[in-house]
Structures are given as structure tokens and as C-alpha cells.
């Protein structure tokens, strides 16, 4: 069973979001990495980009599949995890910690309320 961490927020597209003040750190969930398997390339949005919640803002490629990265909230990209770009396998090994993808400075912190709780996300993936 895929690991779903308490205390994080989730999107229906299988991203997680960790809220720290008005900053959100995001990545893909354990469920998502396991479905994709062997991630070999990742392209998060560039630093300085303004992104909108729900938009496809990057891509993640596994050996056999490609998937969009969706922004969990709106704001500006302020940091990108260079380590996972060099070694995308980190996302498979540690999706919630070392495998984080990028940080967003939120323009509308109220959007966090639209994200799923750990319990809601668990229900979402239980049907799969």
C-alpha cells in the first residue's frame, strides 16, 4: 500500500504539498512514483516562473510513461531541487523528502483549502 503522510496536502493528480507559512514545497506522491516506476527524467518549472493552481507546469518521465506535473497552488517558483534533476531515481526512493521537486511562494494562500487531506487522498487512491 502506498505511503500517504499525515500533515501534507494532496492534489487529485498525485502531487503532495507541504505548507510552511506562505511557502509550499511540492513533489509527487509515493503512489505516483510507484505507478510510474523507474523515473528517468524530470522537468520542474523554472525558478521565477509564475504558475497557476491546476496548470501543467512540468513533466516527469519514467522508462515507459510520461506524466505532467500539476501546480498544487498559484504563485512564484522560488527554488528547484537540482539533485532530482541530476538523479531522478531519488523520487522513486524518497518521494516525500529528498525527492521534493520545487518550492512555490504562494500568491493566494487560501487555495490550500482546496487541496485534499491525507485521509481524502488515501480514499482517492484506495479505489485504484
Amino acid at each position: 500500500m502506498a505511503n500517504v503522510l499525515e500533515g501534507l496536502k494532496y492534489t487529485r493528480e498525485h502531487e503532495w504539498a507541504k505548507v510552511e507559512g506562505n511557502i509550499v514545497i511540492t513533489g509527487i506522491t509515493d503512489y505516483a512514483q510507484s505507478e510510474l516506476s523507474d523515473i528517468v527524467m524530470v522537468e520542474p518549472p523554472k525558478i521565477g516562473t509564475t504558475i497557476k493552481a491546476g496548470d501543467a507546469v512540468g513533466t516527469i518521465e519514467a522508462v515507459k510513461a510520461v506524466s505532467d506535473l500539476f501546480a498544487p497552488v498559484s504563485g512564484e517558483v522560488i527554488e528547484v531541487n537540482e539533485k532530482v534533476i541530476k538523479d531522478p531515481g531519488i523520487i522513486n526512493r524518497d518521494p516525500y523528502n529528498e525527492g521534493w521537486l520545487y518550492k512555490i511562494k504562494m500568491s493566494n494562500p487560501a487555495e490550500v483549502e482546496n487541496l485534499l487531506s491525507a485521509e481524502q487522498y488515501r480514499e482517492l487512491i484506495a479505489g485504484h
Binding site: 516506476s37 523507474d38 528517468v40 527524467m41 513533466t59 518521465e61 519514467a62 522508462v63 515507459k64 510520461v66 522513486n92
Partner: protein, 362 residues
């Protein structure tokens, strides 16, 4: 409800991720596509390929009949020799690609899982000569043991000097008192064997292989790595690279079409195609910078659409994106560059031969 192969319980035991494929519950991967791929390139791995179809042709005119329904020359096969071949529709489109085994008193056709029923009916429908045709698929289990250490492993359990078994030859022998058909074949580019046994004997063979293979670190391999391995060799996959809308000449399979052998289904159509010249060709290409081509993406030159991708993946051995696709014939020469249209356009270059050139098959 999908079928289970004789090895289904083993897959679960080894922690497989199971998918439905061609009507079977099959392992897509165990520890991961990349590590499994590397196991086969450097050591030895075992694939459950029991989903493949086996169709037997017996009777005095089996060679003549097999020659009529396939493109390669079955009459050239010695006893126990194996041949890669194809079956065609009268218009030259491909029914399936397959292996033809010339065995004592019978011809065995090994066909693609998803095509087994279709192929069986096609063969029955085109029955000529004095032959009998049987679909044995449900009664047969099949394992592929592939990798540079596969001979070392198999020699421990087969009472037959494997150094005498050449590439694309078979022998009917025993493993632990169980009758098996063993051939030096496979679709990975590595040295390897395929073993056919009665489905009920499958687990005993599996256990024997994994027991003696322990020292060689033998591992089970899923369909995911099977696909990346075959693709690195640029072998065609039915349903992706070849199908009823493509013919063997444009697919680069002219070498398995023997016009001189006489009549076979599709011969006339292929001769016409050959005369009028090919319009498109299946080519292999490597990504120049970054990106991974994916099936069904368009291929363009400038703004002109010149073809489409049939297979595309990340190559675990080459550590880059590779693809195959049909392009207009003037773009098929090695060195030609064009672009594949994914989310971002990917620049690629046509290459000659397999993507991976260090395979150990012999």
C-alpha cells in the same frame, strides 16, 4: 477474466506488480525495469512467457503447409532448427511474426500472445495440404532464461552439452525427468534459452532453475524489462511496430521473406510493393539532446509531417531516449535528422542496426 500462467503464484511470491496483458495476469516488473534490464544484460534473468501461443502442425505435408502460410523458407530447416518468420494477409499486411520450430514429426509455431486466437483461426481458414492443426497454448508453459550467464545456469540442469546447441536451434530433452523443448532463442539480444513444458510441470522447472541459479543471482524479470531489452535490439513488436497495416519489406523484415521458395500467402502483393518501390520505412533513431520519444507521436521535418513513432522508450543501457517509427523513404538513411513531436519537440537522428550493440547472443 484474465488467465493465469502456471507461474502466477511465483510472481506474487517474488513481489511482482501484476497487469493484465493479452488476456493474462502478467508481471510487469519485480524490483524495477532498470535493475531487471541490467540483470539480463550482465547476468541471468527468467521471464515467464507462458502467454505466448503454440500452434502445432502435424501430418505428412506439414512443411509444405508451413511454407505456404509463412514468409521464410521452412524447407531449409534441418531437424530441430528454428526460424524467425511472419504470416501475411493476401495484401501483404502482417498477421503476426512468429518462430517456426521444425521438430520430429511436427512443426511448432510460436506466436504472440495477443494474436493466438486470431492466428489459429487464420491457419485453420487457410488449411491446405494433408495436415492437422492444434492450438496447444493452454497446455504449455514457457520460460525464457536470458543473459550472458544463462548457459552456465542451464548446463547445471540439462543433460545435453549446451555448447553444441547453436543460436536458433532446439533440442527435445529433459530437466529433472520432465520432458521439455529447449531452444537457444530469445528476444533480448543476450545469449539465452527458451524452455517449453507441460503447464502442470511448470513450477518444478521454475524451482529447479531458481535453486541452481542462486549462485548466479538469477532473478525473475517482468514484461517492462522484456520490452526495453527487445527494443534496444530494435526487434519489432507486433501491435506497435508491425501490424496488418504494415508489410515486412517496409518494416525491415525483408530478410525473412523468401520469394524464391514459391507460393505463399501475400507473395504477389509483396512482389508488387517491391516493384513499385517502398514509400516508407521503419527506422530506428536516437535522441540527440534530451527527451524520450513515445508511441503515436508525429515525426516532422521542418513543418512537414513525414511519419510517426511506433515504439519509444528510455534505453537503460544507453541512458537516453530511443525510438522507432515509419518515415517517408527519403528520410530513412542513417544520419538523417528530424523531430518527434511530444510535449516539446525532440531532435533525433536515424541510426543503423540495433541501438545496443554489445549483446551476447550467438
Amino acid at each position: 477474466m484474465a488467465k493465469k500462467t502456471p507461474f502466477y503464484e511465483k510472481h506474487l511470491q517474488y513481489g511482482a506488480k501484476i497487469v493484465e496483458f493479452a488476456g493474462f495476469f502478467m508481471p510487469i516488473q519485480f524490483e524495477g525495469i532498470i535493475p531487471e534490464h541490467e540483470t539480463v544484460r550482465s547476468g541471468v534473468g527468467v521471464f515467464d512467457v507462458s502467454h505466448m501461443g503454440e500452434i502445432e502442425i502435424t501430418g505428412p505435408e506439414r512443411i509444405e503447409f508451413a511454407n505456404y502460410i509463412t514468409t521464410n523458407d521452412v524447407s531449409k530447416l534441418a531437424l530441430n532448427q528454428v526460424q524467425y518468420s511472419a504470416m501475411l494477409y493476401p495484401d501483404g499486411g502482417i498477421v503476426d511474426d512468429l518462430l517456426v520450430y521444425n521438430l520430429k514429426d511436427r512443426i511448432l509455431l510460436v506466436v504472440n500472445a495477443a494474436n493466438t486466437e486470431k492466428d489459429y483461426h487464420w491457419i485453420l481458414q487457410n488449411k491446405k495440404f494433408n495436415v492437422e492443426i492444434k492450438n496447444l497454448s493452454d497446455e504449455i508453459g514457457q520460460l525464457a532464461i536470458q543473459g550472458p550467464k544463462s548457459e552456465q545456469l542451464m548446463q547445471k540442469i540439462v543433460d545435453f552439452d549446451l555448447s553444441q546447441l547453436k543460436y536458433y536451434w532446439a533440442t527435445e530433452t529433459k530437466i529433472k525427468e520432465i520432458d521439455v523443448l529447449l531452444s537457444r532463442t530469445g528476444y533480448t539480444g543476450e545469449d539465452g534459452f527458451e524452455v517449453y513444458m507441460a503447464a502442470k510441470d511448470g513450477l518444478k522447472i521454475w524451482d529447479t532453475i531458481f535453486e541452481v541459479g542462486k549462485d548466479l543471482n538469477v532473478k525473475p524479470i517482468g514484461l517492462g524489462a522484456r520490452d526495453t531489452l527487445r527494443f534496444e535490439m530494435r526487434y519489432c513488436l507486433y501491435g506497435n511496430d508491425i501490424d496488418k497495416t504494415t508489410n515486412p519489406l517496409e518494416a525491415g523484415l525483408g530478410w525473412i521473406v523468401k520469394f524464391e521458395k514459391g507460393d505463399f500467402i501475400g507473395r504477389e502483393a509483396l512482389l508488387k510493393i517491391k516493384e513499385s518501390g517502398l514509400k516508407r520505412k521503419l527506422v530506428g533513431f536516437e535522441v540527440i539532446d534530451k527527451g524520450i520519444p513515445r508511441p503515436h507521436q508525429k515525426i516532422i521535418n521542418g513543418s512537414k509531417e513525414i511519419g510517426y513513432v511506433t515504439s519509444g522508450t528510455f534505453s537503460p543501457s544507453l541512458k537516453k531516449g530511443i525510438g522507432m517509427g515509419y518515415v517517408e523513404v527519403q528520410y530513412s538513411e542513417p544520419g538523417t535528422k528530424f523531430r518527434v513531436i511530444g510535449k516539446e519537440p525532440i531532435s533525433v537522428e536515424v541510426i543503423k542496426g540495433p541501438f545496443y550493440k554489445k549483446g551476447t547472443h550467438k
